[in-house]
């Protein structure tokens, strides 16, 4: 049975983050309202100088189309830089291990992956990417993709408090996200990680001479600083290919819990940033409520099924009993609830880091993780997770309005067909870019996985489904299987397209919805207005999320993880 001794620290960490979240969320809100905030003395002059260099100013607020153009330019620049760096990494600095340049398709997949905050890697970090490519190229995307997500959320939320159709200045949002949130926190968290034992050096590797002879390469680098921004920015890329399972990246139970807090901080605070910006404190509760309900159910299921007996080991005799039915791919130093907490937070906050081998966990555990990527919003990735939840809310309020026959409105702004069309586009592109490439890939008969191999076991089916879901949700966690080679040109190119569509189509829809709200003037609430800051609406929103995701994905779940336990 489950060893529950360790549940207290799981509850403690989640409780601490939830206690900090309202305070930190209101700080985030002040940052995006350009209000006086902590650090102005030092940072304001710096920001003003930056705006002058950029040739822009906070007063030049952008409409959705212009905001999107600016975002695409910046992200396009990141993408191009990463692509070229990876392709030519052997000729660029800090390549002490002499790794070759990436092939065109691998560079494409990697550049798309990092630009879109996915950080799904189709390579082995230790032998296929140089230290320079990680620090100079990849790390640029760690910062800017996180800043992109938060800026989009801020812009969309501003729609509720504006009437001139504009959403704010994209460049200003990106700069302030860097100076006020990402840089100070990632420096602080990186130093804590060093104190917890994580390496931070520009020595690429050390040659060790093990006790029984031979040679062991110990790969090092600025691991703490990389890991800090990677998890804070819900990127999820690891310095090591074993990510946070590697003892060098996550040395102890304490570092594990600390990293959980780092991952949770911004996604769990964003609902409070929302209520700060719209100046209605109570409106954050349906969102944080929905997030906590779904997250708690997921974590509970995950822990319970990890502790259950694995039928796959029933035929093995001579093994001692264990409270962990799935010890393969788990690390000794974390208790089962602690390891599970990291993994569920990581996938539900769309970080995608792993502290275990996801491919070896219980089938129900795999399904729990898949569900988090289907909803993408409990709490979801940096900024975009909350923006997705807002789209779900728009849809839910519209449906409620249809049921009682009233014009639906939210925060004094009418929700009309055009809002719902954009919301539906953002929510429906997700299953489309998972299921269509899945079918095409299988019918195509790509050498990565043949139809026969796919049909041979439910686990193989699950791994292809997991791969595409992870890419579509910009998550980045992987359920690797030896029988699925995802590094063929077909899966590299498909993956890159899925990630780019899964990132920028919903962002476009979020900005459009924000722009529509920003063009309406606010009306006072009437007697028929749906009260959104209520327990009823919280439960209603939770149910809508579960039902929509279940309707879309139940058939594939039945063929994958559910078939595995039958």
């Amino acid at each position: 049975m489950v060893d529950l001794t360790s549940l207290w620290d799981v509850v403690l960490v989640v409780g601490l983050v939830l206690a900090i979240a309202p305070w930190f969320g209101s700080y985030l809100g002040r940052v995006y309202l350009n209000r006086p905030a902590f650090g102005d003395v030092l940072l304001s002059p710096l920001e003003q100088a930056t705006y002058r260099l950029l040739g822009t100013s906070p007063r030049r607020s952008m409409r959705p189309r212009e905001y999107m153009v600016a975002l695409l330019l910046v992200n396009g620049g990141v993408f191009l830089f990463l692509y070229l760096y990876f392709f030519f990494q052997n000729a660029l600095p800090l390549d002490a291990t002499g790794v070759p340049g990436m092939s065109w398709d691998l560079a494409l997949h990697s550049a798309a992956s990092f630009t879109t905050n996915t950080d799904f890697t189709h390579f082995t970090n230790e032998s296929q990417i140089s230290m320079g490519a990680e620090v100079i190229a990849w790390q640029l995307a760690l910062f800017l993709s996180a800043a992109t997500g938060l800026s989009v959320a801020a812009a969309m939320i501003r729609g509720f408090i504006r009437k001139d159709g504009t959403l704010g200045n994209c460049y200003v949002d990106l700069v302030r996200t860097m100076t006020r949130i990402l840089l100070p926190l990632s420096i602080l968290f990186a130093l804590v990680l060093v104190l917890l034992g994580v390496p931070e050096t520009f020595t690429n590797y050390v040659t060790a001479h093990p006790l029984t002879g031979g040679i062991q390469w110990i790969y090092l680098g600025p691991v703490a600083s990389f890991q800090s921004i990677s998890l804070l920015g819900t990127n999820g890329g690891g310095w090591y290919s074993a990510n946070a399972a590697s003892p060098l990246a996550n040395p102890s139970a304490i570092s594990n819990l600390f990293l959980v807090g780092v991952m949770m901080l911004i996604p769990f605070s964003t609902p409070f940033a929302f209520s700060q910006i719209i100046r209605r404190k109570s409106e954050s509760w349906p969102f944080i409520g929905t997030i906590v309900i779904i997250f708690a159910i997921a974590l509970g299921l995950f822990i319970f099924y990890q502790a259950a007996t694995n039928p796959g080991l029933a035929s093995v005799s001579g093994l001692g009993v264990s409270t962990n039915g799935y010890p393969v791919g788990q690390e000794t130093r974390f208790s089962l609830p602690e390891a599970s907490l990291f993994q569920v937070v990581s996938v539900y906050a769309n970080v995608g880091a792993n502290n275990m081998a996801i491919g070896s966990i219980s089938p129900i555990g795999q399904m729990v993780l898949l569900f988090g990527m289907f909803t993408q919003s409990t709490p979801g990735g940096e900024g975009t997770g909350f923006a997705t939840l807002l789209l779900f809310a728009v849809l839910a309020i519209f449906i409620a309005g249809l049921m009682v026959g009233r014009t639906p409105e939210y925060l004094g702004k009418k929700i009309e067909t055009s809002h719902v069309k954009w919301a539906a586009l953002a929510l429906l592109i997700h299953p489309a870019i998972i299921l269509v490439p899945f079918s095409v890939g299988v019918l195509w008969g790509d050498p990565g996985i043949s139809a026969t191999t796919l049909a041979a076991s439910a686990h193989n089916f699950t791994s292809v489904l997991y791969e595409l879901t992870s890419e579509a949700a910009n998550n980045g966690s992987a359920l690797s299987t030896a029988s699925f080679n995802d590094t063929t040109p077909f899966w590299n190119v498909t993956g890159a397209l899925v990630m780019l569509l899964g990132r920028f189509v919903p962002i476009w829809a979020m900005l459009q919805v924000g722009g529509l709200f920003a063009s309406e003037s606010e009306k006072p609430p009437g007697p028929g207005t749906l009260r959104t800051a209520s327990a009823t609406f919280t439960i209603y929103l939770t149910m809508i999320l579960i039902i929509i995701s279940a309707l879309l994905f139940l058939p594939v779940l039945a063929l994958g993880p559910l078939a595995q336990i039958l």
Partner: protein, 219 residues
């Protein structure tokens, strides 16, 4: 329409008035390109150079040992890192958890077996057979599950105390150290959670072996 545009602030506009504000002019293409290029260059300087260099500089002062990878020295050479496992497959040493990459860090994370994959049970049976053949365990001893299952990182340096204690008969016969001595030795190397439930009890096998070497006159 008023021709003078008041400054657009980020904050909510005051009470609705019939006269609409003139929004600030949109950026021209040239202005967008300039802003993008400058933003990318500045961010690249900060994220790729200033940030890692500043953190490394401070890290090398506050905890140089951790910053350099917690390296272990023995007789003047680097024998490994206290954080990662290595091959200790000798009769006189305590063994680490099995590694799918044979502790080769260059290979990174190895694709593990699916939870209900028949190959998983096969792998367990083969590993158990190997361990039983060379492990010299007490007859009929069941082997702790952590001692047989591979880790996610392939370089997990820790084992549960039970999984180390089960190796005592083999190490005792290879080193002529007594059962009691080795048992106490292992207990002394067991790290318990600082507060019950914060992590688990474990033994750092590499450290255990390093401390064992001088006692048996090897190294």
């Amino acid at each position: 329409m008023s021709a003078v545009a008041p400054p657009v602030s980020g904050g909510p506009t005051p009470a609705p008035s019939p006269s609409r504000r003139e929004p600030a002019p949109a950026h021209t293409t040239g202005q967008h390109v300039r802003a993008t290029v400058v933003l990318l260059v500045l961010t690249l300087f900060v994220s790729g150079f200033a940030y890692p260099l500043v953190v490394t500089g401070i890290a090398q002062v506050i905890d140089p040992n951790a910053a350099d990878g917690s390296l272990l020295h023995y007789n003047g050479t680097v024998v490994g890192s206290s954080l990662i496992a290595q091959n200790t497959d000798a009769p006189y040493l305590f063994w680490e958890r099995p590694s799918l990459s044979d502790y080769n860090t260059t290979l990174g994370m190895i694709t593990p077996y699916g939870p209900t994959d028949p190959a998983l049970a096969e792998w367990f049976n083969e590993t158990l057979a190997y361990l039983r053949e060379y492990g010299n365990f007490t007859v009929n001893a069941t082997l702790p599950i952590w001692f047989v299952s591979p880790s996610g990182s392939s370089i997990d340096p820790d084992l549960t105390p039970g999984a180390v204690l089960v190796q005592v008969p083999r190490v005792a016969s290879a080193t002529n150290l007594s059962y009691d001595f080795l048992t106490n030795f292992i207990n002394a190397h067991t790290t318990d959670p600082p507060i019950p439930g914060l992590g688990v009890s474990y033994v750092d096998v590499l450290q255990l072996d390093l401390d064992l070497l001088p006692l048996i006159g090897r190294g």
